[in-house]
Structures are given as C-alpha cells and as structure tokens.
C-alpha cells in the first residue's frame, strides 16, 4: 500500500472514530497514534472497528462478542504449561506499519538468512521477505517481481467470478455474503479465543467461490504477506457454493518473527452441495530461543461446515513453529455423504508444546472422515494429538479411519495421544490406530553407512515418516515443507 493510500485510510478512520468516540475521555484526541492504547476494553473494540471503516452491524457484533468474552474463563485443560497471559498487557491494534527498511541483505539477521538459503528461497524473494530497500514492496496480492503477474492473477479470478479480498474489504463490499456466514461455523461463544477474536480481529481473508466454479489457481496468503500488517487476530471466511472447488494455502515456511506473543486466529469454511475446499497450512512461527523464551503462542480455531450433500473439506497442516500451539481444525459433517479429512505433521523441538488434532462431527448419513496425524517430538518438547470422532444417532453408515503415529527423538521429550470416540449409531464403522516409536539405531546406521550425515539421515527418516501427510500438500508447499522438517529438527539428535 502506498503512503498516500495509507494516509487516506487513516484520515477516514480518524473521522469515523471521531464520530463514534463522542466521550469525555481524553484519548479520542489521540487517534493519530498508530497503536490503540494498551489493554482491552470496549473503547479498543470501537477503535478497531472505526479504523476499519466498518458498518454499524459489524461494530455491534464485535461488542457482543467482547461482552461475552468478559464472562469466559481461560481454558487450561490441555497438557500445556503456559504462564498466565495478562490480557491487559498487550496492544490489540497496531496500524499497518511498514517493516524496517534495510539497505541490503547484509543487514538481515544471519540466522534468518541461513534458513532462507536452506529453504531454497530465491534471492529476490529473500529481499522482499526481509524488507530490503529497493526490493519490490510486498503488495496485497503478489510477491513476485512483475506487475503483470499480479494483474493476470486478479484478472483470472475476476473472470471466474471468484471473490478474494481482505475480510475488512469484504465486510464493506459484500456485507450480505459476510453476514450470512460470519460466525455461523465458529460462533462467538464457542471458546475463549474465538470470542476474543470476534471482538478484536483486524485482518483476514474472505473468499467466495460461486456455483460450479473451480478456482483457477491456488489461493494463498503467501500472496498477502503484507509488509504492513501484524496479522495477530486474523479472521478468515471461505465459502464454496454448490459444485465449487478451491485450494487455499496459508502460511509461509520462512520464519516469522513477531512482537506479538499471542495469535488467536479464527478460520471458518463453508462447503455447500458437491463443493470442495482444500485448506493447507505450513506454519513456522517463531518457537522461542533454545531456552524456550519469547516464542509465539498460536491458538487457532479452525472449523469447516460441510453443509451440503457430498461436500468435502480437507485440512492439511505442517506445524513446526510456535512456542505453544493449540489448534483443532475440525469438520462438522452435516451433509449426506459429506467427507472430512485431516492430515497433520506436527514437529516440536527444544521447549515447544503442541496440542493439536481434529474433531469430526458426523451428523449426516453416509458421512466419512479420514484422520492421519504424525507427531514428531525432540528436545524437551511435548507433542499431543487430541481428537474427537462423534457419530450422532441419526447418522447411518458413517465411516471413519484414524491413524496417529508418534516419533520420539530423544529421551527428554513426550508424545501423547488422546482420542475420544463417541458413537451413537450401530451402523458406524470407526477405526482408530495409534503407534509410538523412535528412529531405530539400525535405521540410522544404515542411512549413515550409505553416506548420509546424522542430521541428514534423521531428516530422511522423518520425511519418510511424514510422507503420507506431505503428499497431500500442493506442490510448492510440499517441497518447502520437507526442507522445513529437516531444519526444525536440527540439533535434536546426538
């Protein structure tokens, strides 16, 4: 976004806020600032809504969520060890600010450069990611150098009728569509972090694929890595109308450092009759230093509503970052013969903690689900799979297959599996299997005897272990994810 546009936006925000903030309180004069004042109260929520130029109904929605959030206690049931989070000690809105501009790649933290190299990211892209002066500014929809690529991309989507824009823009330009589905999959009272997100979300993506349309390209927030945004409380809503198809990629393999410790995103997917949504995530948030300090807390609520008959949603995730990860991409399978899939590789090292899994709620007759979870623990980390497969009494002929495998690297880490299976219909066939193992000395010796160094050997074996999940990823992601697995386990063996 250019400086000019930014100024215009701020101007508009100021005016809107001034109208709304008709208080005696002093802060209303300080809308010039880039940050909402520290802490979270109703004013913060109004400030955010004003900054985003939101219509009245949206502000009301946020306030309702905020008021509800106040009544909710923070959950602690997962096997996580989290120091108490002081919700008043954080900034809930930071105006998009440009990343620090560097003169050249030489000024970039060499550790980060090392990672870029290992991931095989081309030099030009590295400059963009690092915010080097002169590199093309990361615009909203394109990462690559040429203007024509960005234009073609937009043209193609437009031709197909695909709506793909930021959630704030969507709230303004397509209010009916957004109103129809926002909060229908993850209601504001669903959980503590969802309520918080509803109140203070400040960025996110909205996608709508019209009937019968197969989205011509993979949509990616990689395209939206915005030099200006923190993406702390993202809200994403993807709706695939009858017979539509879309593949959506979220995340970036490059390490993302952030001042903000807390990330509480909400992702809602809706698939109508015969529609399919493929949602892939590669997440490598900063995990904290080797002592486990300063990492990011990643609490995400992701849920898909397979509303239509024969609708299908596949969640694929590769999680290698964050100090604490708490996410359960789930599918509510209401449609007859609907399908839900969950493929996950979660790697934890050093002091990371991951508690992740899925919920497959079978309400529709003939609905099916497949769950493949691969957990890799190293260092002193704890890696937990937590899943639920529930079959309602009216759901005839349900099929589920779940495979959870854990790989332990070292004696000081933990691998845990907690599946819940709740069945109320006799015709359901639910199968769950879990195994735990380590890389055998034989395997390691064999690989090394053939010439691989120890870390290479471990990376090879780990990739083999995770293969079933990795091959679900769209190709660009798959290659990077493989490398990422190796990198995240560095220093874990020996």
């Amino acid at each position: 976004m250019t400086e000019q546009v930014q100024d215009q936006k701020d101007q508009a925000a100021r005016e809107a806020a001034a109208k709304v903030a008709d208080y005696e309180h002093g802060w209303s004069a300080d809308i010039e600032t880039e940050f909402a004042p520290k802490g979270l109260d109703e004013n913060t929520v109004r400030f955010i809504s004003a900054k985003k130029n939101e219509p009245e109904w949206m502000l009301e929605w946020r306030l309702k969520a905020y008021r509800h959030w106040l009544t909710m206690p923070m959950p602690d049931w997962a096997k996580l060890n989290i120091p108490p989070i002081d919700y008043q000690d954080a900034y809930y809105y930071a105006a998009p600010k440009p990343k620090k501009v560097l003169a050249s790649l030489d000024e970039v933290d060499p550790e980060i450069l090392e990672v870029y190299k290992k991931l095989g990211i081309p030099l030009e892209e590295q400059k963009v990611l690092a915010g080097v002066e002169g590199a093309r500014k990361v615009a909203v929809d394109a990462v690559f150098d040429s203007v024509s690529v960005a234009t073609t991309f937009r043209e193609e989507l437009k031709k197909a009728g695909v709506i793909f824009l930021s959630i704030s823009e969507a709230i303004r330009e397509y209010p009916d569509l957004v109103k129809r589905w926002l909060g229908k999959v993850v209601p504001m009272h669903d959980n503590f972090f969802a309520a918080l997100n509803c109140a203070v979300f400040s960025d996110g993506t909205f996608v709508y694929i019209p009937e019968g349309v197969r989205c011509p390209m993979e949509l990616s927030t990689y395209f939206r890595i915005n030099a200006e945004n923190t993406g702390q409380f993202e809200r994403t809503l993807i709706v695939a109308d009858k017979g539509a198809y879309v593949s959506y990629l979220e995340g970036c393999t490059a390490p993302q450092r952030d001042e903000n410790q807390l990330h509480a995103a909400v992702v809602e997917l809706v698939a109508l009759d015969d529609a399919e949504i493929k949602y892939s995530t590669v997440q490598n948030w900063y995990p904290g230093d080797a002592e486990g300090k300063g990492g990011i807390y990643n609490f995400v609520t992701k849920r898909a509503l397979c509303q239509g008959a024969r609708s299908k949603v596949s969640w694929t995730q590769v999680e290698t970052g964050s100090a604490v990860t708490w996410k359960y991409p789930s599918c509510v399978l209401n449609g007859e013969d609907s399908v839900g899939e969950f493929y996950s590789v979660a790697v934890t090292n050093n002091f990371q903690q991951a508690d992740t899994g899925t919920k497959m709620i079978h309400n529709g007759k003939g609905s099916r689900s497949t769950i493949v979870s691969k957990g890799i623990s190293a260092g002193r980390s704890q890696n937990t799979y937590r899943g639920l497969v529930r079959v309602a009494p009216q759901a005839e002929g349900v099929r589920n297959f779940t495979q959870c495998d854990s790989l332990l690297l070292g004696k000081d880490c933990g691998a845990h599996t907690v599946p819940y299976i709740e069945v109320r219909n006799p015709s359901a066939q639910i199968e769950h299997e879990a195994t735990t193992s380590k890389i055998s000395d034989d395997q390691l010796f064999y690989a090394m005897q053939r010439g691989l160094g120890q870390e290479e050997a471990v990376a090879l074996i780990v990739n083999g272990f995770a293969k079933e999940v990795l091959q679900q990823l769209p190709m660009e992601f798959a290659v990077e994810a493989q490398k990422l697995l190796g990198i995240s386990l560095e220093g874990s063996v020996g």
Binding site: K79, P393, S406, L408, L409, G410, K411, D412, C413, G414, A415, H416, T417, V418, P419, Y420, I421, E422, V423, R424, N425, P426, S427, A428, Q429, I430, E431, H432, E433, A434, T435, T436, S437, K438
Partner: protein, 245 residues
C-alpha cells in the same frame, strides 16, 4: 478417584461419561490396594453380574518381575464402574481383559490407568463392549510411560458394538509417553459385525439371528482368552449377552 474427595463432576476427565446420579449414593468408594511382591504371579477376576450398581476402585502395584492377570465381566443392569490403576515395576507384566454387556438403561464403564514406572514392563489390555437398549458402554484407558521406562511394551485393543440406535459407546484410549525406547500401540474400533462373516455363516444354514449371536459370542470371548476361569467367565458373559439380544 480417591475416597476423600467430593463427588466428581463431568469436568473430571475420568468421569466424563459417568452416570453421576447413580454414582452419588455409592460415593466415596474405598480404594482396594493390591500389591504383588517381586516375582509374584497372581490372577484375579471381577464378575459384576448382580442387579445392584457396583463401583470399584483398584490400586495395584506390581513389584519387579511380578505378573498379574485381571479379568473383568461388567454386566450389571444398573451402573457398573470398574476403575483400575496399575503401577508396573521393572520387568513386570499386566494382562487385562474386560467384557461389558450393557442393556436396558445401564451405564457401564471400565476406566484404567496403567503406569509403566520401571523399564521392560509389558501391559496388554483387551476390552470388548456390547451395548443395547438405551445403555452406554464406556472405556477410558490411559497408558502412562514414565521417563526412563525403556523397553516398555504396551498394547490396548478396544472394540465396541452397538445393537440399537439408542445405545451409545464411548472410548478414549490414551497414551502419555515420556520415554523413547518403547513399543506402544493401541487400536480402537466401534462398528458392526463383519458382513462377509455373517453371510458366510448364513450360507452354511445359520439364521441371521444365530449368525449374529455366534459372532457376538466370539467377539466377547476375546476378552477372556487365556483366563484361568475363562470358561466360566465366558459362559456368564454369554448369558448376559442373551439378555441383550
């Protein structure tokens, strides 16, 4: 789960599926301590087929090299909860086989926590549940492997079958593992009888009801394989099964 505490609620993990109303008059439950000395071999049976609600809480410790075989038949028409905590010393072996036949409006549950405290211990759990009517059959089973418990070999095989759409089966086989040189696996399946098997039996002349009975009998009997009093237990289990069919 100890006797001194207040009545649990649904928020207590081990009681998430329990029939708390039925539990209340029986609470608190005295903990039965069972200790096997090093090298001791013992077999125990719990047969819960009476008409009263039954809640039992066993706390077991196996000394080094000890072996305990515990078989449970949980088939009361009211509330039946058999909770077992076992701590396994080095090289010990714990074999657990449980069959649950839940009918009427009963809630039956088997709740186990097997802790591999020492290395080279073996645990095997086989649980088979059949629920009909508006009954609920539950299994919650945690296998906890402490740091240093290398050479652990732990297995859980949990299966449940529903006879009516009004019945419920809940299962939560859990692994909590802090050592790496271990062999731990669990399999859990809830489902119908194999259609091919049913057809095979019928093609030989068995009526559909008899074919189903035969396969269910075999299903239940898997819990009592190798039981010393296996025949008696199986007979009692099959009698309970008849009540459900």
């Amino acid at each position: 789960m100890t006797g001194a505490r207040a009545l649990p609620t649904r928020k207590d993990e081990e009681f998430r599926y329990a029939d708390l109303a039925a539990l209340a008059p029986l609470w608190p439950v005295a903990v039965e301590e069972i200790v096997l000395a090093a090298g001791e071999v013992r077999a125990l049976t719990i047969s819960n087929t009476g008409s009263q609600a039954v809640v039992r809480d066993l706390s077991i410790r196996l000394g080094a090299g000890a072996q305990l075989t515990l078989h449970v038949l949980n088939a009361a028409p009211a509330y039946g909860r058999i909770a077992v905590r076992a701590e396994l010393g080095e090289g010990s072996a714990f074999t657990f086989g449980a069959a649950q036949l839940a009918g009427g409006a009963a809630t039956l549950e088997v709740v186990t926590q097997v802790t591999h405290a020492g290395p080279d211990a073996i645990s095997r759990q086989v649980v088979r549940s059949v629920a009909g009517g508006t009954a609920t059959a539950n299994y919650l089973g945690k296998v906890l492997v402490r740091p240093g418990a290398d050479g652990t070999d732990g297995e859980q095989s949990v299966r449940a079958m529903l006879l009516d759409r009004t019945a419920t089966a809940n299962a939560r086989p859990e692994l909590e593992i802090y050592a790496d040189d271990v062999k731990c696996a669990h399999g859990c399946a809830v489902g119908e009888l194999d259609a091919n098997g049913l057809f095979y039996l019928q093609s030989r002349g068995l009526t559909p009801a008899d074919a189903k009975r035969l396969m269910l009998q075999a299903f239940i009997a898997e819990a009592f394989v190798d039981a010393a009093d296996g025949d008696d237990l199986t007979a009692a289990a099959l009698a309970a099964l008849e009540q459900l069919l």
